[in-house]
Symmetry: C2
Subunit: 393 residues, 2 copies
């Protein structure tokens, strides 16, 4: 038996383990300093009451013979697909039910979707980048082209017409930079994809942070996107589902390549290698899309957005350049004095006990940039930014 | 962009859709006949009360800030891995915690594990077979060798030493045949695997139906299995989790090939393409392994086993040959008069209103065989077998 040799080409990421070690070392030497973590990439508010009620009710159903649910459709129950279909309508996007696939999260589907594509396809990923886009393609042995996201393009790279690629990753609002493409910019990518017979893998996991009505929450708000784009979304950040696990992937019926329907291929992939999301979780997810659920998740989202504002207001006052903060839970700031991101990390930790994430961990274009997140409490975020202001004023 | 051309080699299975169509046609022509379905491949009893309580309690935790859980470890929480570790000890199998990976079910992992292996590996699957083993390898373009499971070997094929293969699928207790390998037989496969530097993919999804203490519930009960086998198990049939989704996969640390640890590769695969099983579901799964949980799931298992006995007793009385029935929820019977399995299906449906599954749907060696399952109610199973007896006595 031969193993998949591509795994040998994977780099270990020491980003979060190095951060944890530095924080531990600091804490043991400074036991009295209150550390404030603005590096958190996970939600912290509990599930809203509409979801909790729906989960309890579904658990009860599973305990009674008459309402018990065994195997469900691998691609998800219609009650949840309909709720998502209606949600898309609020963004003026019309989807067929069979174009919606319920998943256990965007990360799984972003990896698994690659099953549908030839190994010899060339992939475009931005730098800096969510590492999953890179590693999943390394595992399959694909050629990866990096496109620079940097200060010059406001971390929103546009297509280089001289480059030919088959698969294009776009994350908007972006992790880690918080930058959001507008419709005209996305249209350029769509035009490029159609011209090159390429597929855009559009990661919309942070769409619910978009407040600006002119910015697209779904790539399908732009003409022709259904001919070239698959969209991945998740309730992780939208509704606090990081530990509850539910997302959805849109594979339009119009996606046909080499005489094969990507929608039918994905259905076949999922019915063969997946058995669906737990019924209980799908019931909880459907509650997110009710009137009560939408109201309650907005309250949570507003809480995080308020934190983002605390951070961005401080940076504004200090004249520090950043992307994100608006329409995103992430704030991506330029390290003062063009400092290296790890040096900046050390200063924040050692001088004011604030922890963030060095941009270098996401790619070379992050070397002088730094990610703060809005997932801590309002009080701690305020305190952290007070310390930050006093240090750099 | 080129699609994965291997998908063109997949055959559509019309097995269950053809059955559904035949049943519908019959029902519309004979609205007064009570159809009894003994083709059900899904559990029908609700989740036991220990699981229901644990699920409710976990839902409550998710609704409070202090106990809310975000991202968990992709490979599962230690509380559940420890419970599984202890369960294996009852079969005299010692596992390290890091060898246990919590999954959303055996089907997902049986498919996804193939990521770790080279595309040029040759695969052995039995015929008849659970179609997932075949389709997942066709998707990857692997060469498949079928090994005959038939009356001559009691549907328990042993290795052909003249054949060289890299990956070997074994399902015991088997779906669809219900046949169970004993330790000596499994040892032959282990010896073969080690000699050929091959890996056994051991599907133990039906282990909880084994009553005979001499039969292995885990392949690791046999010497050297940790050097060559990955084991997949699931709570689907054990505890009625088909709609709740939780399983576990054992990847021993001793599995090293080409200087690569399969355990470390699988950890990397899962941390990259998976985000773990919902916390709520893992809490429910852990309750299966409590004293109350074990007692309660045994009651459910005994109910199904009693149904299996009703079926096998009838076949015994009629001198119809079969495998399974004991140590398995499936009964695989030889069609009387060497009938073709689809003809037999039609006779059962049209003469006595009983629905089963034609063996031909699982491979050529099933052409004259037929699968009945023990997942209907006791009353209906009794009624079906009374009709069956009267037809063939």
């Amino acid at each position: 038996m031969n193993t998949n040799q591509n795994y040998k080409n994977l780099n270990e990421s020491y980003l979060f383990s190095t951060i944890a070690k530095k924080v531990n070392d600091f804490t043991s030497q400074n036991p009295d300093t209150e550390i404030i973590k603005l590096g958190i990439g996970d939600v912290t508010l509990p599930l809203c009451s509409a979801v909790i009620e729906a989960l309890h009710s579904a658990v009860d159903e599973m305990g009674e013979k008459e309402t018990f649910k065994g195997y469900g459709p691998e691609q998800g129950y219609d009650f949840l697909k309909s709720a998502i279909q209606n949600y898309y309508k609020t963004n003026n996007v019309n989807l067929d039910l069979n174009e919606i696939f319920i998943s256990d999260g965007a990360k799984s589907d972003l990896g698994n979707i690659l099953d549908l594509f030839d190994k010899d396809n060339t992939v475009i990923v931005p730098d800096p980048v969510y590492p999953v886009y890179v590693d999943t393609n390394i595992m399959a042995g694909r050629n990866i082209i990096y496109t620079d996201a940097n200060e010059n393009n406001n971390f929103l790279p546009l297509p280089d017409l001289s480059v030919k690629a088959d698969l294009i990753y776009i994350c908007s609002p972006n992790n880690p930079t918080g930058a959001v493409y507008n419709k005209e910019q996305l249209k350029q990518w769509i035009d490029y994809a159609i011209k090159n017979n390429a597929v855009i893998l559009f990661d919309a996991a942070y769409e619910s942070f978009i407040d600006d009505n002119n910015l697209p929450k779904s790539i399908y708000e732009i003409e022709n996107a259904k001919k070239c784009a698959i969209e991945f979304c998740s309730l992780s950040k939208t509704a606090g589902f990081t530990g509850t696990r539910c997302g959805y992937t849109i594979v339009p019926n119009a996606l046909n390549f080499n005489g094969m329907s990507l929608n039918k291929m994905w259905l076949r992939r999922q019915t063969t290698k997946f058995n669906g999301v737990p019924y209980i979780v799908q019931k909880g997810a459907a509650a997110v899309f009710t009137q009560d659920g939408q109201k309650q998740i907005q309250e949570n989202l507003n809480y995080y957005k308020q934190n983002a504002k605390v951070i961005s207001n401080t940076l504004d006052k200090l004249n520090i350049k950043y992307t994100g903060g608006k329409n995103s839970p992430y704030i991506w700031l330029k390290c003062p004095n063009n400092m290296n991101s790890w040096d900046f990390f050390d200063i924040l930790l050692n001088k004011i006990g604030v922890v963030g994430t060095p941009g270098a961990g996401f790619g070379k274009n992050g070397n002088n940039w730094f990610r703060l997140t809005s997932f801590n409490t309002y009080e701690k975020t305020q305190e952290a930014m007070k310390r930050f202001y006093n240090l750099f004023k």
